[in-house]
Amino acid sequence: MELLRYILRRTFLSAFVLVGVTFLVFVVAQVVPSDPAALYAGPRPTAEQIEKARQELNLDAPLPARFATFAGAMASADFGISYKSRRLIAEDLRAYLPATLELAIFSTVLALLIGIPLGVIAAARQGGWADRLCSFGSIAAVAMPTFFLAMILQLIFAQWLGILPLSGRLSREIAISAPLPMVTGFNLIDALIAGRLSAFGDALTHLILPALTLASYPAGVAMRLTRSAMIEILERRHIVAARALGLSEPRILFGHALPNAMGR
């Protein structure tokens, strides 16, 4: 009941936020001191071409009418045509969004897989060398700017060791000569659907460096949070009881303490 009320309230409020953002986006586009018609008409348009673009884009209509058109189109998820790529924005989103999501999901999972176990280990060995190493690592990971880390990783793994690719989502032989059929847009899933394990491995190797780069910050945070939560839990009596009962250390840490630490 509590949850339902919360969801309803947030939904109600977000409607206002949505309208406000739509309005802001529209206003910002109007006050920027440049001519969207000239931008749309290309790099070196004639006066007639700009005029034509103005009519095509309906820029000579009054402001309120244009806001109505804009808001109406947004409401029906019609994003129109990009001034830059000259393609439907929905089409561009379909092409780019899956790649972003794939990387975001993969790096989040990676961050948790790295951060939580390290946090547990650091808490279990509180004050020991493992704890210090993990703590130092987490501070470094949080403090390091991603663009810098990305270049260092590229330098080490692509340039020096040559074991991971420098850029891209797939190797050129696959991207150029034998492209994956686009089903979901997630390369990993599309490769599995097509039954091409080598393409899956290829997409995976291409994901590692960018995912690692993006995961470094959240992994550091997750490690710190897990560590502090775990330290608190490990001092509780039921953990002492578990130790007294002779449960194995991993069982105590991951079976009893960690779920408690996470559930707080």
Partner: protein, 521 residues
């Protein structure tokens, strides 16, 4: 699975993926028939009628025009080569042009090249009216007396052989595509006669072109089967790719890195003059720049050599008027000023300019060289008591301000110019011919004598090119005498290619384009 087993499996998996990616690299290096370009910008428009940007790099390998411009070298004069047309004739009045088409050329859809196809292409381009289609403005009708003969009737004399060689809006495309929308082309379809066809287009990422069977032109031994345009906006990554052999061609790397690249035996750094020239238009409609001596003083205070060395690491060259080297109408002996602060001071004193004068220079935020030029000029002007206010703007905003009211606009409008097709007319008419409503003449310069020379030269461009050239140079000398603009530098064309690529030649008439059919490994 117990722990030892798990570790073993993990280690094996890691090894296997590492090995697989090693194998991928090996494959990439061995793929001799793919030519890869690391291209710094995306391709916003693949419609041959309206494309007016870097998309030309793709289209030039897919489509062909009637003629091609070959720039002057140290040993040879500039010329116009036959391409889809084998020969052409112009009437004595310069208004009727007859082109004979090449026999046996086929479009990628299998249909033959005919005069009808040429007529249909140019008419579609004109009708849509986008991009550079204005180059066909003087064409009043196109006739097709024979399947391989096409006649253009013009409303005024114009050099149509040059217009037909343009890198934009001059492509000939198959009749089956003449009723298609821009979206059909931008989905990755094409209808050209070139050596390659577009196989796949992933906007913002890559365009893959494959060789067409039965191309009419000469194909060298070891020619490439596939072209891959990889869109790489990050210069560091592009440099990495060209150094590691993942790319064969790239450009727009920072000038300061070029020395290091030059010493790399795997790479060839090709430096040529481009047709892009950097200048600042003085606002002659507003005091104090309405006085010629003040403008001359400003030009004398410009640190030409410092800007070339700081802005382009010495790769650029001194601009001699507005028409850059390599293009006909370039004035090798133009009377350009040298940096001379004393002379500048004397001129300012003559006009009674007191210290404390403030001038506004606008330039585009996307052009790093313009910022360098502004900063160095500002330092020199400070010693003369003039404050140069640098105002970086988005290009559209800068242009909008320039086009508004000369009285309220900038004092100095800094920009690059490059020609739509290779003629001095493009520079002189757009930038210095009187305009009723400013469009690109953003210094608002107006001189009937210069107008007359430009107009006369334009009329003679098709029939008496030597006389036209002389007139264009006279017009430029007058513009330099009037100090209507400051000519800062000619931009270098720097392309970096792998050293094992054979047959490469830069052609500044076609922006950053590699004609891959001529290349081999």
């Amino acid at each position: 699975m117990n722990r030892r087993n798990f570790l073993k499996t993990a280690a094996l998996t890691a090894l296997a993926t590492a090995a697989a990616s090693h194998w991928n690299f090996a494959m990439a290096e061995g793929a001799g028939s793919i030519f890869t370009l690391a291209y710094p910008t995306s391709f916003p428009d693949l419609d041959p009628a309206t494309s007016f940007s870097n998309d030309g790099a793709v289209l030039a390998n897919v489509y062909e025009g009637l003629t091609r411009y070959i720039p002057a070298t140290d040993t040879a004069e500039a010329r116009i080569d036959p391409l889809l047309a084998t020969s052409w004739d112009v009437s004595a009045d310069g208004k009727t042009w007859t082109f004979t088409l090449r026999d046996g050329v086929k479009f990628h859809d299998g249909s033959p090249l005919t005069s009808q196809a040429v007529k249909g292409s140019i008419e579609r381009t004109k009708k849509i009216g986008g991009g550079a289609s204005f180059i066909w403005g003087p064409v009043s009708s196109i006739e097709t007396p024979e399947p391989l003969k096409v006649v253009f009737v013009l409303s005024e004399p114009q050099p149509l052989d040059l217009i037909a060689s343009a890198g934009f809006a001059a492509w000939i495309y198959a009749p089956s595509s003449h009723d298609k929308e821009a979206s059909w082309f931008n989905a990755g379809n094409d209808a050209g006669t070139g050596a390659f066809k577009i196989s796949r287009y992933e906007p913002g990422q890559r365009a893959v072109l494959d060789r067409v069977e039965g191309y009419w032109g000469k194909v060298p031994d070891g020619a490439f089967q596939t072209i891959s345009f990889e869109i790489v906006e990050d210069a560091t990554l592009a440099q990495n790719m060209i150094e590691s052999g993942q790319a064969d061609w790239t450009y727009s790397l920072p000038y300061e890195n070029l020395e290091a690249l030059k010493s790399n035996p795997d790479l060839n750094v090709v430096v040529n003059p481009s047709f892009e020239t950097l200048f600042g238009l003085y606002n002659v409609k507003r005091a104090p720049l309405d006085k010629v001596k003040v403008r001359q003083a400003l030009s004398l205070a410009f640190p030409y050599d410092d800007v070339i060395s700081a802005g382009t690491s010495g790769f650029g060259s001194r601009a001699k008027g507005v028409v850059p080297a390599g293009i006909w109408g370039h004035d090798t002996n133009a009377p350009i000023p040298k940096t001379d602060l004393e002379a500048a001071k004397a001129l300012l004193a003559e006009e009674g300019i007191e210290p404390g004068l403030e001038l506004v220079m606008t330039y585009s935020t996307s052009q790093a060289i313009e910022a360098v030029a502004g900063e160095l000029w500002k330092a020199n002007l400070e010693t003369l008591g003039i404050t140069l206010k640098l105002q970086p703007m988005a290009w559209e905003a800068q242009w909008q301000l320039g086009k508004s009211n000369p009285e309220a606009a900038q004092d100095i409008f800094v920009m690059f110019w490059w020609p739509t097709f290779v003629t001095p007319y493009d520079y002189l008419f757009n930038l210095f011919h009187s305009e009723e409503k400013p469009n690109f003449n953003l210094g608002y310069y107006s001189n009937p004598e210069v107008d007359a020379k430009i107009d006369e030269a334009a009329k003679l461009s098709g029939t008496d090119r030597a006389r036209a050239e002389a007139l264009f140079i006279e017009a430029q000398r007058k513009i330099i005498e009037d100090a209507a603009a400051i000519f800062m530098l000619d931009q270098p064309n720097v392309h970096i290619i792998r050293a094992d690529i054979k047959g490469y030649a830069d052609n500044p008439a076609y922006g950053h384009i590699a004609f891959v059919n001529d290349l081999s490994r």
